[in-house]
């Protein structure tokens, strides 16, 4: 009882300290809305068609500025967009990469192969920066894990719990960023070369709105001659965000599948060991364990 009272007192002291702090910490930065993703949750998997569409958006929109440092071959591996080998070979052949030196000591250009990294439009970061008003577009392959935002107490604890787990902050952020271009609020001056974005920290981003209009990217048509998903900015943003989650975590599906088996195995193992332990301890009359904080010889006994 006394412990409980002390705990309560200390907890309310803690809460009293924490609440005004939490309020003072909330600044004018809105949180990216939480989206539904096929790859969230314990049994989450990627949607192949979505990843293939996302890659198309990358190729047609983002690639002019951003590097995606992954080899072509990974686009055909299990757990990803799973393009066919022939598709990948054809795709790679559209790009030129520098190789060498050859026997004569000269560098030469050749068509890319599946094992090569997807080449970047720019020769290096400085060139990329000078072409983009001084800010180099960052490479995208890890973006979905390299961005996050604070969820604050107590949500950040809930995010780790089974059934509530939330690991998709990065994908949500990318989706929000791409759909977050707005007119600046009155009185907010946007410097030249900058663009107002609701979700970018500080709101001024050097990237011009990359996906400007619905219909900008043509999606593969279904049997009825129409794309099965809407060709809208909203859908493009969603698809590229999912695709970037895959590039950041290409083994996500294998990880979740393995994890499920490992945890089932451990649970069965623990169950067995529990009974072995009970059996062993029965020889000395079983365990009698006092919980911490309960005096086995307290006055109530």
């Amino acid at each position: 009882m006394t412990t409980a009272r002390a705990l309560l007192a200390a907890a309310s002291l803690a809460a009293g300290l924490a609440l005004p702090l939490a309020a003072s910490a909330a600044e004018g930065q809105p949180h990216p809305p939480r989206e539904k993703w096929s790859f969230s949750g314990v049994f989450g998997t990627f949607d192949r068609a979505q990843l293939q569409r996302g890659f198309k958006v990358y190729r047609e929109v983002c690639q002019s500025c951003h590097q995606l440092k992954i080899p072509f071959r990974t686009l055909s591996q299990p757990g990803g967009p799973q393009f066919s080998q022939a598709q990948i070979n054809a795709l790679a052949a559209e790009y030129k990469v520098q190789d060498g030196p050859n026997d004569a000591g000269d560098m030469f250009e050749r068509p890319a192969r599946a094992a090569d990294n997807i080449p970047w439009t720019f020769a290096n970061e400085n060139q990329a920066a000078s072409a983009n008003g001084g800010k180099a577009p960052p490479s995208l392959q890890l973006m979905a894990k390299a961005r996050s935002y604070e969820r604050g107490f107590p949500l950040f604890i809930v995010d780790a719990l089974p059934f509530f787990q939330y690991q998709e902050h990065g994908a949500d952020y990318i989706h929000a960023l791409l759909t977050g271009y707005k007119d600046p609020p009155a009185g907010f001056t946007v410097p030249p070369g900058g663009h107002y974005n609701e979700y970018f920290p500080g709101h001024i981003i050097a990237m011009p709105k990359p996906i400007a209009t619905d219909g900008q990217v043509e999606y593969p048509k279904g049997p009825d001659g129409k794309s099965p998903v809407p060709e809208t900015v909203e859908q493009y943003s969603r698809d590229i965000a999912a695709f970037l989650m895959w590039t950041a975590e290409p083994n996500l599906e294998a990880r979740k599948r393995t994890g499920f088996m490992v945890i089932i195995f451990l649970a069965v193992f623990a169950y067995l060991m529990y009974y072995v332990k009970k059996k062993v301890w029965a020889k000395v009359g079983g365990e009698a364990e006092g919980l911490p904080g309960t005096a086995p010889l307290g006055p109530t006994h």
Partner: protein
């Protein structure tokens, strides 16, 4: 209790021959088989076994990672990505190792608070306790240097902030800092020496763990009553009783660990560490790994740089003096009504410090950090010494066995022969 001769009897001729030349089997036997264990231990006593398991796991996964990792500033980040993408089960190895460090600290913090609650640092276990504090210090150094290896933004800037602290030390400070850096700033030489040390320190930890277990062997384990083993009836042999319980607890801990590895592998890390290190761009908030946050909060609570460094160091080192700061002769908080309350307040202060360490050092956060920092030291320097003089402890049980029997609500009692069990061979 301290001088029970080894009851190990070598069976084969070879074992006899070997034992008379190097009695290591007898040593293992008396430490992990016949070793008398208080029979009333709770699951809080399984964390020692869990810690040994985690050290082994970190060393194994670490050596495997080192086979693919490149300790060079322009290649380190990419080599970790190579592990994640191209090495077979590389993602598993890395998530095991990165989350393993956190699990190691979760286990060590439970282990240490267990010691604080049950007075496990008191005579005759002072040396055992101090060896534990040394292990904790080595673990912190190891984990700090390990976090630098992937060479992301947080690796680089965390290393910069923490190594810079040493410059506050008068006279030798600058020399120490350039020794750590191997140059004039954190760079490739820093990464190289941190990798060498990160590889070395875990083996030093293993060495100190051997001493820790040796000291334990001499004094025996404490228990929830704090009353020592008085007769064979109070104890059970380590094997099978403690062994099976440790195995069960370790598997349960592994389930918890597996959840993090497979379902929230980046929860305990920081997103910025997926951005390659860039000396030209400072992250908005530089935050250490969660297990350092309480100490980081103490560091920033003191307005003076040198003062902050001293306070942070003292926060760890003060633990080594605990056996002499606590003046109460009663070990277990179960029999110390006042200390028990102060213990829980202290736990909450530590958790609060951890939370404050993750916040920017401004406004109310600074004030709260200062209040908690002061409380942290007052707990050790004022409350513990004074409490022992004024507190009236509850009456202690006359033996461990008595509490075990009472704990069963005067029930079944013990089956015949049970009392003799500890002396029968296990």
């Amino acid at each position: 209790m301290s001088d029970h001769a080894s009851t190990y009897v070598p069976k084969s001729a070879f074992a006899k021959w070997f034992e008379s030349r190097l009695p290591i089997a007898g040593l293992v036997h008396s430490s992990f088989v016949a070793f008398p264990v208080p029979r009333n231990l709770t699951y809080f006593w399984t964390f020692g076994a869990i810690l040994i398991f985690m050290l082994g796991a970190q060393i194994l996964t670490g050596i495997w990672l080192a086979m693919h990792y490149v300790p060079e500033a322009t290649k380190a980040f990419d080599s970790v990505e190579h592990i994640m993408r191209d090495v077979n089960y590389g993602w598993l190895l890395r998530y095991l190792h990165a989350n393993g460090a956190s699990m190691f600290f979760i286990a060590v913090y439970i282990h240490m608070f267990r010691g604080l609650y049950y007075g496990s640092y008191k005579a005759p276990r002072e040396v055992l306790w101090i060896l534990g504090v040394i292990i904790f210090l080595l673990m912190m150094a190891t984990a700090f240097m390990g976090y630098v290896l992937p060479w992301g933004q947080m690796s680089f800037w965390g290393a910069t902030v923490i190594t810079n602290l040493f410059s506050a030390i008068p006279i030798v400070g600058d020399v120490i800092v350039s020794l750590l850096w191997g140059g004039y700033s954190v760079g490739n030489p820093t990464l190289n020496r941190f990798f060498a040390l990160h590889y070395l320190l875990p083996f030093m930890i293993a060495g100190v763990v051997v001493l820790h277990v040796w000291a334990l062997h001499v004094t025996g384990q404490n228990n929830p009553t704090g009353v020592p083993i008085k007769s064979a009836k109070d104890a059970v042999p380590f094997t099978p009783y403690a062994t099976i319980k440790d195995v069960f607890a370790t598997i349960c801990f592994l389930i918890f660990f597996a959840w993090f590895i497979f379902y929230v592998p980046n929860y305990l890390g920081h997103a910025d560490n997926y951005i390659p290190a860039n000396p030209a761009v400072t992250p908005a908030h530089i935050v250490p790994e969660w297990y350092f946050l309480p100490f980081y909060a103490i560091l920033r609570a003191v307005p003076d740089k040198l003062g902050g460094v001293i306070a942070m160091g003292a926060a760890v080192v003060i633990l080594a003096f605990l056996p002499w700061l606590d003046t109460s002769r009663v070990r277990s908080a179960n029999y110390r009504p006042l200390y028990r309350q102060f213990f829980w307040v202290f736990v909450i202060v530590c958790v609060l410090l951890g939370w404050l360490g993750s916040k920017p050092p401004e406004g109310g956060y600074v004030i709260a950090s200062r209040v908690c920092t002061i409380w942290y030291f007052v707990h050790f320097l004022v409350i513990l010494p004074v409490l022992g003089l004024f507190e009236t402890p509850r009456p202690l049980p006359s033996s461990i066995l008595e509490t075990v029997l009472r704990g069963k609500k005067g029930g079944a009692g013990m089956p015949a022969g049970a009392a003799a069990a500890p002396s029968t061979k296990g």
